[in-house]
C-alpha cells in the first residue's frame, strides 16, 4: 500500500468508527514526509474504550546521525481525564498517557500529536519503529493492541 492509499484507508477507518464501536487498540503512525522542518510523524490512537493508559516506545532510527527530535507537539491534546508525557531519552521516544483515577480512554480516535525529526539524518527517521506498545486496562492488565504505519508495519 503506498502512502497516499494508506492515509485514505486510515481516514476511512476513522469515519467507520464514528458509526460503529471501535474494535481495536491501534497506534497509527502517518509519515508526513521530509519537509523543510524535517520529517514529521503524526500519531493517533484508535481506542476501543476499554483501556486507561498507553505506553509507546518509539525508536526514531536517526539519533546516531545527529538528528534533533522534537516532541513539543506530542500528547498536547489529550482528553481532560488524562495526562501524558512524551520524552526523547536519547535512545527512543517514550509516550505515556494515563489517568490518576484510571478513567477509561474514550472510544474512537485520540490525537497523540506529532513527533518530528530534523537536522542531519532526518531522512533516516522514515525507519521510525514502535519497539513496544502497551495498552493497560483499569485492572493493570495488558489489552491487545497493534501498530499501523511504522517501518515494521507498513
Amino acid at each position: 500500500m503506498n502512502r497516499f492509499a494508506k492515509v485514505v484507508a486510515t481516514a476511512g477507518a476513522v469515519s467507520a468508527f464514528v458509526c460503529a464501536p471501535a474494535a481495536a487498540n491501534e497506534l497509527l503512525l502517518v509519515d508526513g514526509g521530509l519537509g523543510k522542518g524535517g520529517r514529521a510523524f503524526s500519531l493517533d490512537f484508535n481506542s476501543d474504550g476499554r483501556g486507561t493508559a498507553i505506553e509507546a516506545r518509539i525508536d526514531v532510527g536517526a539519533q546516531e546521525k545527529g538528528a534533533r527530535v522534537d516532541v513539543s507537539k506530542c500528547v498536547s491534546k489529550l482528553p481532560s481525564t488524562h495526562t501524558g508525557s512524551c520524552v526523547f531519552n536519547g535512545k527512543e521516544v517514550v509516550i505515556l498517557v494515563y489517568s490518576a483515577t484510571n478513567a477509561l480512554l474514550p472510544a474512537g480516535m485520540i490525537d497523540l500529536g506529532t513527533v518530528s525529526v530534523a537536522g542531519a539524518g532526518a531522512d533516516l527517521a522514515k525507519d521510525m519503529r514502535v519497539s513496544s506498545l502497551i495498552v493497560a486496562a483499569p485492572d493493570a492488565t495488558e489489552l491487545r493492541s497493534s501498530v499501523v504505519g511504522d517501518s515494521a508495519n507498513k
Binding site: 486507561t52 484510571n102 486496562a137 483499569p138 493493570a140
Partner: protein, 310 residues
C-alpha cells in the same frame, strides 16, 4: 540458598454481604515463630500487622499488601528460629525509619543467647536505629561495629546484613563477606539517595557459639518515641539477597505503564484486593499517591527502565 522469606501475609476475609465493604483486610504474622531451637512464639508484645487500609492507623508497607507496625516502646516484635546453627547468614529487610529515640530493630542470636536479653553482649547481630540519622550493626558480643549515617527519618530503607563466622569468604566484591567478617548495607534510591556499604575486617570468630539460631524484628528494645515499621524480611545462608525492584507495583519484574495503573488503583482503592502486590511506593516515602506515579513515569521514560539485578 534461601533460608526464609517471612512476610506479613494478607488474606481477604469474606463477610456476610456481597458488598465490597464487607471484605476486611487481614494481615497476619502467622508465618513467624517457626523452628525449634530455641522454641519461639511468633510475636512478643503487640506488633501490629496491617496495611494502608488498616484502621484506625494506616500501616505503611514496602512490598505486598501488609507491613508490620511495632508500637512505641520496647518489646514489640516478631521472631523466628528457622535458622539452625548457621555459621553463615544473610538477611534483608525494609525499615520505615521514624521516631526520635534509639531502638534496636533487628537481632540474630545463638541458642545460648537469652531470647529476652536484647543487648549486644548476648547477640550475634544487633541492629540499632538512633532515632535520627544512623543505623549501627554490631557483631558477636558487640563487635565489630558497622555504621551508616546520613539517613532521614520518614523514609523506607533496605537494610542488608552479611554474617560469616567461617574461615572461607562468602562471595566477593561489594556483596561478598570476607572470612570471619560482617557486612552492613543500607540503601534508599529516592529523595536523598544513599548506598552505605560497610564491611568489617575480621571480628567474627569461628565458634559454635557464634552460629545463628533465631532472629527478631521490630521494636526490640530502647526508648523509641515512635513506632518502628518493618517489611519484606528475607534470609539466606550464603547468597546475596539485594533490593526489591522499586516501582514494580504489579510485581512482574518490569516497570512500565501497567505499574502506573496499578499505583493509581492502589491509592484510589477502598478494598484490600485493589492494593498493588508489588512495590508501589516508588518514592519510598511511606504512602502511595500521585508522586509515585510521577516517580515510576520517570523510570519508564528513562532509557533503562528494566529492574536492576539485585
Amino acid at each position: 540458598m534461601k533460608l526464609r522469606t517471612l512476610v506479613i501475609a494478607m488474606s481477604a476475609v469474606a463477610g456476610m454481604s456481597l458488598a465490597p465493604a464487607a471484605f476486611s483486610q487481614t494481615c497476619s504474622t502467622a508465618a513467624w515463630g517457626q523452628g525449634g531451637n530455641p522454641t519461639v512464639t511468633p510475636t512478643v508484645g503487640a506488633p501490629v500487622p496491617g496495611g494502608p487500609l488498616a484502621t484506625p492507623t494506616a500501616i505503611p508497607r514496602y512490598s505486598g499488601r501488609c507491613g508490620l507496625r511495632a508500637p512505641t516502646g520496647a518489646g514489640n516484635y516478631v521472631q523466628d528460629s528457622s535458622p539452625a546453627a548457621e555459621p553463615t547468614f544473610r538477611a534483608r529487610f525494609y525499615a520505615f525509619l521514624a521516631g526520635t529515640g534509639t531502638s534496636n530493630i533487628f537481632r540474630a542470636g545463638n541458642q545460648a543467647d537469652a531470647l529476652t536479653s536484647i543487648t549486644a553482649a548476648s547477640s550475634r547481630i544487633l541492629v540499632e536505629w538512633n532515632g535520627s540519622n544512623t543505623i549501627t550493626a554490631r557483631g558477636p558480643g558487640g563487635s565489630p561495629t558497622l555504621t551508616c549515617s546520613g539517613l532521614t527519618a520518614g523514609r523506607w530503607y533496605s537494610i542488608e546484613l552479611g554474617y560469616n563466622s567461617t574461615a572461607s569468604a562468602l562471595g566477593s566484591g561489594v556483596t561478598g563477606v570476607p572470612a570471619n567478617s560482617m557486612r552492613l548495607r543500607v540503601q534508599n534510591e529516592t529523595a536523598a539517595p544513599i548506598d552505605c556499604n560497610q564491611v568489617s575486617t575480621g571480628g567474627v570468630p569461628t565458634a559454635a557459639a557464634n552460629n545463628i539460631d533465631f532472629v527478631q524484628l521490630g521494636n526490640l528494645s530502647g526508648g523509641s518515641s515512635g513506632a518502628v515499621i518493618v517489611d519484606s524480611y528475607e534470609s539466606r545462608r550464603t547468597t546475596h539477597i539485594g533490593r526489591l525492584c522499586r516501582g514494580d507495583a504489579n510485581n512482574d519484574s518490569t516497570r512500565n505503564i501497567l505499574d502506573i495503573v496499578a499505583i493509581a488503583n492502589d491509592f484510589n482503592t477502598t478494598v484490600p484486593t485493589g492494593l498493588a502486590g508489588g512495590q508501589p511506593d516508588a518514592n519510598e516515602d511511606g504512602t502511595t499517591n500521585i508522586l509515585d506515579v510521577v516517580a515510576v513515569a520517570s523510570i519508564v521514560n528513562s532509557a533503562n527502565p528494566a529492574c536492576p539485578t539485585p
